[in-house]
């Protein structure tokens, strides 16, 4: 056992002379009651606690495992909760159950293949992963993407934000007992995914955004489809308002639960709706504009209380803002090329492969060897539905990245969980996990 004995200066420690084992246990209880919200305890230490059935004091504090397979933990998140009755004193998120070494895998795949890897990290908003990966690659390559490709990227990403937040609406409702919301959220999300399938061929894990542009142009009738989506989803959002926003039970359940201040959120590295919910107006689309976000008109939604209700309301209204951006993209989309005409990174068009031997060889070389990227390092970040999604990439001049690191917003945001849960009830913990909206695929990578 690695727990050390008490320090004599600790006033709450028992007097000297008591049995060593008893003193050890008391010291351990004191140490665990320290004001920190984070439970820093290894599996071995946890296994040793409460092993003595005769220790009455140990019964006061209970160490409870929630997850990794628990319906409200959004996949395989496991929480070690230190409880006093039903009150959470400290907690520790235990992660890694979905770790598949994707950053290691990224060191084996070419820049063209890398998209298929990163897109599987945040599987609820795959296009953002691809976008950050491609922006970092393009920074290293030093190429400019055609205007139409950039607008297509914006269109797809904003629709992806809508589908991701609709997924949040569904699961948040389900976690809190508003089960009908689950059906409505999935239903509307499916409509967005249907459009994705039409454009990219897949509902998820698209590998659509590629270095130099996108994989294919949007279909000819995309304007009708997207306008139809806006027309469908906007009135449904008003229905969600009727169903949830003003509903007294819903408000009771969320208001004042899981409060965090802006200063705490910044200190813990939190980004996205958690930071904005605490009252900090920070959105990379507005504050460090990438793509053409400086050419569209939208509002950054900010909360005031930093509680679960604010985080819910922010996401609901961000759907509205995204639809507003999408409506502007329908007007602004220029004609032109959907990928850069740079022979180095772009494969030749399909029609030329039948006619030209050189085109066939070129095509073969790009898809087997890949293209070489100048040595150096780059960091590119985008505002994903969960916060700042960044890709730090190091190239050694070959066609495979030397190191791909993904700054996953869910991974960092998870650190706020013990602070949000401290002093609350287990039942509120379910609301809090849901409002942090972690996607375990990108937490564990």
């Amino acid at each position: 056992m690695s727990i050390t004995a008490t320090s004599p200066s600790d006033p709450s420690a028992p007097a000297a002379g008591a049995a060593t084992a008893e003193a050890d246990r008391a010291a351990e209880r004191v140490r665990r009651r320290r004001p920190s919200a984070v439970l820093r305890m290894s599996e071995a230490e946890a296994a040793d606690i409460g092993g003595d059935p005769d220790d009455a004091a140990a019964d006061e504090l209970v160490l409870l495992n929630m997850g990794p397979s628990h319906p409200s933990t959004h996949g395989v998140l496991r929480l070690m909760l230190e409880l006093s009755g039903e009150t959470v004193l400290r907690s520790k998120p235990v992660i890694g159950y979905l770790h598949t070494g994707m950053e290691k895998t990224g060191e084996q795949l070419t820049y063209l293949q890398g998209g298929t890897n990163v897109t599987r990290m945040d599987y609820a908003s795959p296009l953002f992963n691809e976008l950050a990966f491609c922006l970092a690659t393009e920074q290293l390559l030093g190429i400019d993407v055609p205007e139409r490709a950039t607008w297509i990227r914006m269109l797809m990403c904003e629709l992806n934000r809508v589908s991701s937040h609709l997924l949040f609406m569904a699961t948040n409702g389900m976690d809190l007992g508003a089960v009908s919301m689950m059906i409505y959220g999935w239903r509307e999300r499916e409509e967005v995914l249907r459009f994705f399938e039409k454009v990219t061929g897949l509902r998820m894990n698209h590998n659509y955004i590629r270095p130099g542009g996108v994989a294919a142009d949007v279909p000819a009738d995309w304007r009708t489809d997207v306008a139809g989506l806006i027309e469908l989803i906007e009135p449904r959002l008003d229905e969600y308002d009727t169903l949830l926003t003003g509903q007294p039970i819903w408000r009771e359940r969320l208001q004042g639960v899981g409060v965090i201040s802006a200063a705490e959120a910044v200190a813990l590295g939190a980004t996205g709706p958690i930071l904005r919910g605490a009252g900090m107006a920070w959105d990379l689309r507005r504050d460090e504009p990438y793509l053409f976000y400086d050419q569209v008109d939208f509002d950054v939604i900010v909360g005031t209380h930093g509680d679960c209700y604010d985080r819910y309301a922010i996401r609901l209204n961000e759907i509205r803002e995204s639809l507003r951006i999408v409506a502007q993209i329908i007007e602004a989309m220029p004609s032109g090329d959907y990928r850069v005409q740079d022979k180095k990174v772009t494969p030749p068009p399909r029609s030329r492969i039948d006619a030209s031997m050189e085109a066939l060889i070129h095509h073969f070389k790009i898809f087997t060897e890949g293209f070489k990227v100048p040595p150096g390092e780059a960091y590119a970040s985008v505002e994903s539905p969960r916060g700042e999604l960044g890709v730090f990439m190091v190239s050694d001049g070959t066609s495979v990245p030397y190191r791909v690191h993904v700054r996953a917003p869910s991974f960092v945001n998870l650190q706020t969980l013990p602070h949000l849960m401290q002093g609350g009830l287990i039942a509120d913990g379910v609301a809090i996990i849901s409002s942090v909206d972690p996607i375990m695929g990108e937490v564990d990578r």
């Binding site: 071995a44 290293l140 390092e377």
Partner: protein, 162 residues
């Protein structure tokens, strides 16, 4: 950037428009604290790179001796909308760096991840344990000499012995 961090190597050489400084290990905490006082209120990212098999020129500024590991921290100043990257060289025979936990508590998980994946120890970290791999795992997967083909089978026989 060059006038504020002039004493630190590389302050006048941005990388693709992004400000980068290269403190030494002894400067690491002081430079980080100076950046914190200078308005960089959020630690956005912290990771490491193992340069064991790197074939190209690393582009380090004059006076910075290349080592096997490099810890990279990304800082963000909300007020000025500015970013700063800190890169510190960490030798393979003594892979330790002081923790940034006291300046930015948000470094806790990120430093645990770097320890888990690279075996770089952050001195003074409140919970220096693995985060993604199992606690009893041996080796650090993102090191370049970690042989991905020779992973011992972990859950072959449940012996309950830790």
């Amino acid at each position: 950037m060059a006038e504020r961090y002039g004493a630190v190597a590389g302050a006048d050489q941005p990388s693709r428009g992004q400000a980068v400084v290269h403190p030494s290990r002894s400067q690491w905490c002081d430079v980080a604290a100076a950046a914190r006082a200078d308005g960089f209120d959020q630690l956005i990212d912290l990771t490491a790179v193992d340069y064991l098999t790197y074939g190209a020129d690393r582009g380090l500024p004059e006076g910075v001796a290349p080592e096997r590991f490099e810890v990279v921290a990304g800082l963000l100043c909300h007020e000025r909308r500015e970013r700063l990257r800190l890169r510190v060289q960490v030798p393979a025979d003594d892979p330790t760096v002081p923790t940034l936990f006291d300046l930015w508590p948000g470094s806790e998980s990120l430093e645990r991840e770097v320890y888990d994946m690279f075996g770089i120890v952050f001195e003074g970290h409140p919970d220096p344990s693995r985060i993604l791999m199992p606690e009893d795992w041996s080796g650090h997967p993102l090191r370049k000499d970690y042989d991905a083909g020779q992973i011992p089978v972990q859950f072959k026989a449940a012996s309950n012995v830790r």
